[in-house]
C-alpha cells in the first residue's frame, strides 16, 4: 500500500482585527460576559480588497514557497468555502492561474459549512492514494459573514489554510480518516441571502458535539488508538469554549488542545478554522508526534484525521510566513471601518 500524507502547508490570516469590546459598544452589550462565554477577545477582518480567492492564493503560495517540489505536478485543486466570491465561476481556477499551474488538472469549489476544507483534503488523499494524481492541493478559506448584532458577529473571522498532499517527502503521514454525516438543521444560508441563520443553542449538543465526538471516536476505534496516543488534537473552533469542552468529553487534556487553539484572537475562520489550528501545530510539532484533527461543518458532518509527523518536516521549517506570523499581525480597527470593510456600509 503506497503512503499518502501532507507534503507542505501554508496559512493566511488578514492583517486587521476588531475587539469584542468594540462590537459590544455598538450594541450596548456586556463585553465581559461575552468574552467569558466565547473565550475570544478579537477576530480577524479581511481588508476591502480581500476575499476567499485572494486568501486562498496567499495560503497556497506559502505552501509552495516553503517546499522544494514542483508545483506543476499539482493534479487537483479543491477550495472549500461558504463565501466564494462568485456563485458561478470557480475560486479554484483563480488559484490555479495565480500559482501558474494551469491547465492539466482537475479543480472544483466545495461547500460544506465549516468543513469544506477537510472535505477537499479527503478528496486529495483519495486521489493520491489511488494514484490518479501525484499531488493535490486542498484549501479551506472563508471570509465569514455574521449578521450585525447576531452572536456570530463577535466571532465570524477570516483566514485560509492550504495543504499539498502527495506520496513523496511526506511531512505528516495519514494513518486514517473517518467521517460522519447527517442531515442537521443547525446553521444555514439560503441562496441569495447575505447572512447565515442558526438554531442558537441547537448548534451545540446535537450538532457540533455529537458529530465531532462520533467522528473522532470512530476513527480512534478503527485505528485502535486512544487520546493519550496523541501529542496534539485540533477541533473546529466556532469559539474557544466548544473545542476545549469536546476535548474534555473525549478524554484529551488541556495541553493536547492548546497549540491548535488559535481562535482566541482571530475568531472563527469557518472552513479554515480547524485546519489553521492544524497548520499551527505542524509549525511547532516534533517528528514522531501523532496528531488528531477533527473538523465540523454545520448541516452537518465531521471529518477526522490521524497523522504522524515525519523527519521531513524540518525540510520545510522554519518558514517566515507561518501561522504565527499572521497571528502576530494585528491592526485593531473601529466598528465604523469594520462596517465599511465588510460592506455593511455601502
Amino acid at each position: 500500500m503506497n503512503k499518502v500524507g501532507i507534503v507542505s502547508f501554508g496559512s493566511y490570516i488578514p492583517h486587521y482585527r476588531i475587539k469584542v469590546e468594540e462590537i459590544a459598544k455598538v450594541w450596548d452589550e456586556d463585553p465581559v460576559e461575552l468574552k467569558a462565554q466565547l473565550q475570544i477577545s478579537s477576530k480577524s477582518v479581511p481588508g476591502p480588497d480581500e476575499d476567499v480567492a485572494t486568501m486562498a492564493v496567499e495560503s497556497a503560495r506559502n505552501a509552495i514557497s516553503r517546499w522544494k517540489g514542483k508545483e506543476k505536478d499539482i493534479g487537483a485543486i479543491y477550495v472549500g468555502s461558504e463565501s466564494h466570491p462568485y456563485a458561478v465561476k470557480p475560486t479554484a481556477t483563480i488559484v490555479a492561474a495565480a500559482l501558474d499551474v494551469e491547465k492539466s488538472l482537475t479543480a472544483a469549489d466545495l461547500e460544506f459549512a465549516c468543513k469544506a476544507g477537510t472535505a477537499g483534503m479527503q478528496m486529495c488523499f483519495g486521489l493520491v492514494k489511488s494514484q490518479m494524481i501525484s499531488l493535490g492541493l486542498a484549501i479551506g478559506a472563508d471570509s465569514s459573514q455574521g449578521r450585525p448584532r447576531d452572536p456570530l458577529e463577535y466571532t465570524a473571522g477570516a483566514g485560509s489554510a492550504a495543504f499539498l498532499i502527495g506520496s513523496e517527502n511526506i511531512i505528516a503521514e495519514l494513518e486514517g480518516t473517518h467521517s460522519v454525516t447527517t442531515d442537521m438543521p443547525d446553521f444555514w444560508r439560503r441562496e441569495g441571502a447575505v447572512y447565515p441563520s442558526h438554531g442558537v443553542r441547537f448548534t451545540g449538543q446535537p450538532a457540533y458535539f455529537k458529530h465531532t465526538i462520533d467522528a473522532s471516536k470512530g476513527l480512534m476505534e478503527e485505528l485502535g488508538t486512544k487520546p493519550s496516543d496523541y501529542q496534539h488534537v485540533i477541533f473546529h473552533q466556532p469559539n474557544a469554549k466548544f473545542p476545549q469542552a469536546v476535548a474534555r468529553m473525549l478524554g484529551f487534556s488541556k495541553e493536547q488542545v492548546e497549540l491548535g487553539l488559535i481562535c482566541k484572537h482571530m475568531g472563527n475562520a469557518y472552513s479554515a478554522s480547524s485546519i489553521l489550528g492544524f497548520a499551527n501545530v505542524l509549525n511547532h510539532t516534533n517528528p514522531g508526534d501523532r496528531i488528531l484533527l477533527t473538523s465540523y461543518g454545520s448541516g452537518a458532518g465531521s471529518d477526522s484525521f490521524s497523522v504522524t509527523v515525519t523527519e521531513a518536516i524540518d525540510n520545510i521549517r522554519p518558514y517566515k510566513y507561518d501561522t504565527q506570523y499572521y497571528l502576530n499581525q494585528s491592526e485593531y480597527i473601529e466598528y465604523g471601518k469594520y462596517a465599511r470593510f465588510k460592506g455593511i456600509l455601502r
Binding site: 492583517h15 486587521y16 480588497d49 485572494t54 492564493v57 496567499e58 503560495r61 492561474a97 501558474d100 465599511r340
Partner: protein, 129 residues
C-alpha cells in the same frame, strides 16, 4: 472591464510575468512580444522578483467608482529586488506609517470589482514586510 481584457492581462496581473530578452538580456514588464531595448523577437517569459522597496509613494483620495472602497490608499513606485520598477498599491499599512525605503513583498488582492454583479479583477499589490 471587458472579459477579454481581464483574460489577456491575467498572467501579468496574477503572476507579475514580464519578459527577458535572450539577445540583450534586458528584463521588462509588462509582457511585450518585442524587446523594448533592442527590438529582438527573441524574448522569454520572466517572473518578477516578489520583494522590493518603496522608492516614492503618494496617497490617493479621488479615484474611479470601482476603487472607492479602498480610498484613501497608498500608491507607490517599488524597486523590486531584480531592479525592475513597478507601480502598485500598498496595503495593510497605515497612511501615516508609509515611508520611502520601506521593504515590501508582493501579495495577491482584488484590483477592482465591477459592481456587485460584474467580474472581479485580481492582481498584485504590496504589503510591508
Amino acid at each position: 472591464m471587458e472579459p477579454p481584457k481581464i483574460w489577456r492581462e491575467k498572467r501579468g496581473k496574477y503572476l507579475a510575468m514580464g519578459v527577458e530578452c535572450s539577445d540583450c538580456m534586458t528584463k521588462q514588464f509588462p509582457f511585450t512580444e518585442n524587446c523594448t531595448k533592442c527590438g529582438s523577437k527573441n524574448v522569454k517569459k520572466y517572473k518578477l522578483a516578489t520583494t522590493g522597496k518603496v522608492l516614492y509613494f503618494s496617497t490617493v483620495t479621488q479615484t474611479t467608482d470601482e476603487m472607492m472602497v479602498c480610498t484613501p490608499y497608498l500608491i507607490a513606485i517599488i524597486e523590486l529586488a531584480d531592479g525592475i520598477k513597478v507601480t502598485g498599491q500598498i496595503v495593510d499599512c497605515n497612511l501615516s506609517e508609509a515611508k520611502e525605503g520601506m521593504n515590501v513583498r508582493m501579495v495577491f488582492r482584488v484590483l477592482a470589482r465591477n459592481g456587485s454583479e460584474g467580474l472581479i479583477r485580481y492582481g498584485y499589490k504590496f504589503a510591508p514586510i
